[in-house]
């Protein structure tokens, strides 16, 4: 029997809903017990348990954008993805008073506290972690600047909030009017000890990284976090060799989510195939494996000895794993 998506999660209530721009909704989540939620640092994300019709249980990751110094609530921004698995559409149907489960925050995108200058390059919904990150830097008296790309001025509500809060350190550029940011200009002749943080779509991450490399920036000064969009695939059966259990993995649910919904917890952090925590051994398969992670080496992927259940899946049939 499925226990649902909320096993082991912190119960919260939606206490405020605000649609800030076309397709982007802010949600304020307050603890059900009226106390305080776990503390976090700027750049952290939480995962939200999502229950869809037909016994489908997902978990989506969202960056926290509220203040790290006030944990009476969390705030997240959700962009609606009409072609996705249905998680963001579910989040856009929520109303004040609805209940959810959220994980403890995890930070895979922390501020580098030894840095001398912190440069943020952000685009789209990627702007959200900047709110707590810049607040931390401001409190520490550290030097920072942010270069935010928006498609149009209608699209720029969050960017304007950021600039209202942090003033002249924020540079907003409307890419539909003036073209994309000149990353080389942003990264040229910057003082030693500068760090760049890239928060945006994968094309932006790739551009900024290659520009930084060409300008002699070392990897330890270039930071980015990529939320991989969960792809839907084919349904398949997941057989757990140690317990003998067989679980059905529906087309739009990840193997990790299915395990969690059945009360089986395995380590995870990023849920995007990058951190390596959930690496699992494959014992037997009568199907192909879609490896969507960046963690395993190409040779491991080729021999299908392991896979990352947070993001990768079988393309039908039965997959026997060492759990």
């Amino acid at each position: 029997m499925n226990a649902g998506s909320s096993v082991g999660l912190i119960p919260v209530i939606v206490t405020q809903v605000e649609d800030v721009s076309p397709g982007v909704r802010l949600l304020r989540l307050s603890p059900e017990d009226g106390h305080y939620l776990p503390g976090f640092s700027g750049g952290s994300h939480i995962t939200v348990g999502i229950d869809l019709d037909g016994d489908i249980h997902l978990r989506n990751a969202y960056s926290l954008m509220s203040s790290p110094y006030d944990t009476s609530h969390y705030e997240i921004a959700v962009r609606r993805m009409d072609s996705g698995r249905g998680g963001s559409r579910f989040m856009h149907r929520l109303r004040e008073g609805d209940r959810l489960g959220v994980s403890s925050p995890v930070n895979l995108f922390p501020i580098q506290i030894h840095g001398k200058l912190h440069i943020f390059v952000a685009g789209g919904i990627g702007i959200t972690p900047l709110f707590p990150q810049l607040e931390e830097l401001e409190r520490a008296g550290a030097a920072f600047e942010a270069h935010v790309s928006c498609r149009t001025s209608e699209d720029a509500t969050l960017a304007h909030r950021l600039s209202g809060r942090f003033g002249s350190n924020i540079n907003i550029r409307y890419t539909s009017e003036t073209g994309r940011q000149d990353f080389a200009a942003i990264l040229s002749r910057r003082p030693l000890g500068s760090h760049v943080y890239i928060c945006g779509p994968s094309a932006m991450i790739a551009d900024v990284r290659s520009t930084a490399r060409a300008l002699g920036w070392s990897n330890s000064h270039v930071h980015y976090e990529q939320f991989v969009e969960q792809k839907t695939g084919k349904a398949f059966d997941l057989k757990l060799a140690r317990s003998g259990l067989t679980l059905r993995v529906p087309a739009q649910v990840s193997p990790l989510e299915v395990l969690e919904a059945n009360g089986i917890s395995i380590p995870y952090l990023c849920r995007g195939g990058a951190c390596g925590q959930c690496e699992t051994r494959i014992l037997q398969s009568d199907c192909g494996i879609e490896h969507n992670d960046v963690w395993l080496s190409e040779s491991v992927k080729a021999c299908n000895s392991h896979f990352m259940p947070c993001i990768s899946r079988a393309d039908g049939g039965v997959l026997v794993i060492d759990l």
């Binding site: 030693l192 300008l215 070392s218």
Partner: protein, 199 residues
Amino acid sequence: MLITGIKSRPVYDRLTPFPEALLHLVVGQGSGGTAMSRLIAEIAPGADIEVMYSTESFTGQNHLAALKDAAPGRFDWFASNAALSQALHDRLSQAFMGTRLYLAGSESFIGLAMKVARQFDLNADEVLREHCGSLVRRVWCVHCDTYSENITQRVFSCSGCGKPLVVRDHYSRLMGAFMGVQGDAEVPGELPEASELDT
């Protein structure tokens, strides 16, 4: 013998060019001159190279003339490690991302220069350190907070408090020094056998 089997010592690199660097800052002291000349010859022609050298040396090694010839661009030299470290600080505060730092010389010198580099948040992928010459040690007295330079013996007399110190094989990167503790703390006068450090 109380101090046995403690294993730790900084692991140094061999200087080789960082191909992606916009500026190669080659900095060294005494015996480090040979490693500096070798490195400069390996850096692709036309690259931006600046050289800083201190002639202070425990072993009397001086490569000033050879380095002057090898340096293709700016060359500065200093009579002491302290003067060089001040100049390094000034240079790094004007430098940009894309700079790579190469250090060559005694352990004490490298420790001093790394202290400066850390102030500018230079990481392992931006600095290389090659140890050259004798492994004489800089030793910090845990009892009186004094540094003794160029120590070659396992047991020596602290230059601050005069206590007979035993050198522990334990190195602090922040201090750029090994630790010295009183060798006869249990029974006055009963010291570990005198021996050469692995210099």
